[in-house]
Amino acid sequence: MSGMAASRPAQAPEAEAGAECQGDLGRPRTPRAIALSDAAFFTVLGVIGGVYVLLILALLAADAAYMVRQTFRAAADTPQPWLTALTANPILTALADRKIQYSIWLSMISCSLSAILSVLVAVPLGYLMARQRFFGQRLLDAILDIPIVLPPLVVGLSLLILFQFPPFSWLARDIVYQIPAVILAQFSVACAFAVRTMKHTFDHIDPRCENVALSLGCSRVQAFGWVVLPEAARGMMTALTLAWARSLGEFGPLLVFAGATRMKTEVLSTSVFLELNVGHLEAAVAVSLIMVVSAVIVLIVARLWGARDMGL
């Protein structure tokens, strides 16, 4: 190919090249045409991909720009605008608010608990799905996707309805519209993502390592503990961070199942909603930015743990 292309004159007139293409189907295209086509191909890919990346960055930039604009607008009339902007901006105001402090605290605790619970469930379930072949496996696989595809509000409503039936109804007084409801609502959705991640992780661990461990004298649980689990450590970290981030963003099921009571079941996503409801756009954006920073920290932790190859 390259030899043929090289033997042709590099600066062949366009008209001649066109005539050749029409007349002779057996010839390769000119190097320039190939180069143009390749360049166009990558340009189109880059433009389509770039639009989305720009959208993501623009979303974050708009939040930050709005915050800066509002801060300086409010600080402009004061004697020392810069000092006022630094000390009295909406983020600091939000952080000083006891209700927001409670919401940050509850978010951190509930997200961590639901993420840990998710991994505790996802490790055995993901392992079974990846390693064992059993009747109804495909059905189970589909069931595990239900929380991912179900509209979030429906998850919340279904949880609420579930707790009207025994044995759940016996516990309803202590759970529904209480803090446990926050964790349960977050867990219901986050766990599905953790299971997917763990299944993916176990799928990519060579089963022969486990077979060797069995031949060395390990029981199943020893092979799992000594060989499989250490190999899955990165996947577990990814599942944990992913479940944590999902939990942080959970809103629909929380609103329905846990309510939005200040100083009780209010988490950061609920705070944004409540602040918006009473017309405090600045406070809503400030809380959003706190969530953005938390999510970015989690994302960085996940990336540092080599989560790039996890596919999720």
Binding site: C209, N211, E231
Partner: protein, 218 residues
Amino acid sequence: MIIVDAISVQAGEFRLDDVSLRVPTGGYAVLMGKTGCGKTTILESIIGLRSVARGRIWLHDREVTHLKPAVRGIGYVPQDGALFSKMTVEEQMGLALVIRRVPAAAIRGRVRELAELLGIAHLLHRKPRGLSGGERQRVALGRALSFRPRVLCLDEPLSALDDETRRQMCDLLAGIRVKTGVTTLHITHNLVEAQVLADCLFRLENGRIEMVDLAEAT
């Protein structure tokens, strides 16, 4: 001694029926056959990783047909070693002994002794990442031999190695056989490997195992 007596094994869509094989105590058997003909399936049945539908398997006068792999006492070296990526060479070579609750000092001694024999003493504190193909296979071999198994099963252990390394590994395997007297079943595509190592050669073809005269094998 390894005796495989008329076993039938199902492996997905693939099925082997009425397969028999006999390797005398201390013997070195090589099993050859085309890719996908079921060599690994037979090996896995002997190790206990695949359940046998019919027939029986004996290892040194003990029937092991339905025993778990852990109690069969077979050293297993899979194709590319399948090393445990999170353990150091020393840790994986000692795992079988840790499971058997051997005292730590004795484990260290045994691992060092094996590492000297296999020429990997300088690698003991390394993790598998970055080891060459030959080094990986030596570690896998050391791991399999650590608990002094009476039977060793090798699944194409040299197939991914260059010619020079393969020659060295062949010499090493022959040396180990002399030193340990372990009964070995070795799967390979490579006839030269078979001629160097085997004292009985089997060929698996169309679901049948035939013994081949080493002198006639070409």
